[in-house]
């Protein structure tokens, strides 16, 4: 008996404009979400359009009647303003510094917690607490309880060594703010990396040990590649949040001395609500938003790449 295999029918991809998954079908499914989308657009995008509109005007609230259209004048001023550049640099330093140091610290804590020891649950709770404190309260705590030149604990601890006279916040304003932020954010990084550490397959670690890797080699060759995506996620989320830091600066230094510890949100706030220069601050706002969009596009691409099953 002869068996003739039938030629399999050509596989044709489904036409995109009919059947389930088609365009019309998609819109029917999305329709119930539209009100929420429209609401979101109204409350986020309309203010942005207004900001763009203001940024094209010379408008200072303390000089009534002086409001007029000036084209891109405000933008030219923003880019030639040396304070703006200083503040932009501060923002980068503060964000990057706080994110990186809190990640290093968080990773160290996570490594310590990733083993069984007596009282682990208690220690873990203690380590997480800073993250649960209201940012304003945390900033106050650092400003008054720790950094204060007269009553501060840091100077008190250092005084036996003859180094108890420093006014930390005036001498190292940006660093002081950064330290407070690192203290608050290290627990977040710790939680993320701890989740990463505990999701490591045991047998892979054992295989590495059998294959001749010592503790450090296991960490470098197996653990770090596994943690990479968790670290990237922590860095990006931390940066997105910390680039907007306001409370810590407001409470601890008021951006000073001068603009030594101001970042962009704080500087724009100063220009708008203390200098009443609506046009200028609107232009700065637009510049910051555009820069943020550019940076976060790359950052989000990074996250999506490492989470799209690149490794697993």
């Amino acid at each position: 008996m002869t068996v003739t295999a039938e030629r399999p029918a050509e596989v044709t991809p489904r036409r995109p404009d009919r059947g389930p998954g088609s365009r019309a079908d998609g819109w029917i499914r999305r329709a119930p979400l539209l009100p929420a989308l429209i609401f979101t657009i109204i409350i986020t995008q309309l203010p942005f359009l207004f900001t763009i509109y203001y940024s094209l005007q010379s408008w200072n609230l303390v000089r009534p009647g002086s409001r007029q259209f000036v084209g891109l004048d405000n933008y030219v001023k923003v880019f030639t303003d040396s304070q703006f550049r200083q503040v932009a640099l501060n923002t980068v330093l503060l964000t990057a510094g706080a994110v990186i140091f809190s990640m290093i610290l968080g990773l160290l804590f996570a490594l310590l917690l990733d083993r069984a020891f007596f009282g682990r649950g208690f220690i873990r709770t203690l380590l997480i607490t800073p993250f649960l404190i209201t940012p304003v309260a945390a900033a106050l705590l650092w400003k008054t309880v720790l950094f204060d030149p007269t009553y501060g604990l840091i100077n008190f601890v250092l005084s036996p060594f003859g180094a108890g006279q420093t006014d930390w916040i005036s001498t190292f304003p940006l660093t002081s703010v950064m330290i407070a932020l690192v203290w608050q954010w290290a627990p977040f990084m710790m939680l993320l990396t701890l989740a990463g550490l505990q999701s490591q397959p045991h047998d892979v670690l054992e295989a590495a040990r059998v294959d001749g890797a010592g503790t450090f080699a296991v960490f470098r060759e197996v653990t770090i590649p596994h943690l990479r995506r968790f670290i990237e996620l922590g860095l990006v989320l931390g940066a997105i949040y910390l680039v907007n830091t306001f409370d810590a600066i407001y409470m601890m230094t008021q951006g000073g001395p001068g603009t030594a510890s101001a970042n962009l949100p704080f500087y724009i706030y100063q220009r708008a609500f203390l200098g009443f220069d609506i046009g200028q601050s609107a232009a700065m706002g637009v510049v910051v938003v555009v820069a943020t969009i550019i940076v976060s596009t790359f950052a989000l691409r990074l996250i999506f790449r490492s989470f799209s099953g690149e490794e697993s």
């Binding site: 397959p201 047998d203 892979v204 054992e206 295989a207 590495a208 040990r209 059998v210 294959d211 001749g212 890797a213 010592g214 080699a217 060759e221 197996v222 590649p225 596994h226 990479r228 099953g309 490794e311 697993s312």
Partner: protein, 364 residues
């Protein structure tokens, strides 16, 4: 290459609990392929992991090449292990995975490449060297894990159920390949499985564990022909050996409603043991089947419940006509025409029936 020795080695996970491995004694010769087999939870993996240095040796010693391994780190034991789920490094390519043990030992880059290439040739992985493990099939991952073990040229191979994630066909072919490769490389190998077919076909010798204790350590043939106790007798062989605990009579044993005359030599073994009951073991193929027509006179009467026709032969699952309706399994020729409900008469064909003490379960 080295001899491996378990000397009263024990592992106690939780103090006070029953040891997971209890005073294990094994002497594995240089180049030998030894299979650890036993039911789930019998301590096979634990014993292997003790040898690998992944579990403490709480009592006794384990020696590799005569050197005591207590307190020696895994990486200093010169062993290579294949894990059940392969444990490949997900962020490294196949080539990097296989080169990793060499890299960790500071082997020259060029030599690494050369050895990886040679191993990849043997295992048919040459085309996949640049892929990440997640882009491989289960069988290919298994090969990579094997490759990572053989590039090392270790003293001992350790394998913990390396085939259990493969489909039945792959398992059979890979089984043969592993055994052949081990013979060629001549590296002492300890192989854990719960599959008795793997144990019987692959091992030079098989160690059977139960509850952390060694039951018997012997060649597959000896395990089958001379099981050391009732547990071994019941574990090895499929379908399992028929085991009956029976009163001893004048000429043989009483089984069901009939007297089963045993061959003379067997009967003298029973009487010399001085027992009045005995555990008798008869493998399914050690029965001759007679029908109602009288050719099975003197045999044990049984009624067929299920016929499993395998082509070349058939297994009859029957029960004796005693009050407990003791089940019995019989191998008969294929297509013998036996059907459910048939009355059959069974006679033991062989003198090599198995006798065990009913109290201790030990072979007599």
């Amino acid at each position: 290459m080295a001899e491996v020795e378990f000397d009263q080695a024990s592992r106690i996970y939780t103090p006070g609990a029953k040891p997971a491995v209890n005073r294990l004694d094994l002497i594995i010769d240089d180049g030998e392929f030894v299979v650890l087999v036993g039911p789930s939870g019998s301590g096979k993996s634990t014993a292997l992991r003790m040898l690998a240095g992944l579990e403490e040796i709480d009592a006794g010693q384990i020696r590799i090449g005569g050197k005591n391994m207590v307190g020696v780190a895994s990486r200093d034991r010169d062993i290579a292990m294949v894990f059940q789920n392969y444990a490949l490094y997900p962020n490294k390519t196949v080539g990097e995975n296989m080169a990793f043990p060499l890299k960790m030992r500071g082997v020259d880059k060029a030599v690494q490449q050369e050895k990886v290439k040679a191993a990849a040739d043997i295992l048919g992985l040459t085309d996949y060297l640049d892929r990440k493990p997640r882009a491989l099939s289960g069988g290919q991952r298994q090969r990579v894990a094997m490759g990572r073990a053989i590039v090392r040229e270790p003293q001992v191979f350790l394998m913990d159920e390396p085939l259990s994630n493969l489909d039945a066909k792959m398992r059979v072919s890979t089984r043969t390949e592993i055994a052949a490769m081990q013979r060629r490389l001549g590296v002492t190998t300890v192989y854990v499985t719960h599959d008795q077919v793997e144990a019987m076909t692959m091992g030079d010798r098989v160690a059977l564990l139960k509850d952390g204790a060694l039951q018997q350590f012997a060649t597959p043939a000896e395990l089958y022909d001379k099981p050391a106790n009732v547990f071994v007798a019941g574990f090895i062989g499929s379908p399992a050996m028929n085991l009956f605990t029976l009163p001893v009579g004048a000429e043989g044993v009483r089984i069901g409603s009939s007297d089963l005359a045993l061959p003379g030599s067997l009967h003298s073994r029973i009487s010399s043991a001085g027992q009045d009951t005995i555990t008798l073991g008869i493998r399914p193929e050690q029965w001759a089947v007679g029908g109602d027509n009288g050719d099975g006179a003197g045999g044990v009467k049984a009624q067929v419940d299920v016929v499993e026709e395998l082509g070349s032969d058939a297994f009859l699952y029957a029960h004796l006509d005693d009050e407990k309706q003791t089940p019995v399994v019989v191998r008969s020729a294929g297509r013998s025409g036996a059907r459910r409900g048939d009355q059959i008469a069974l006679t033991p064909t062989s003198e090599d029936l198995h006798l065990f003490s009913p109290e201790t379960g030990e072979r007599l």
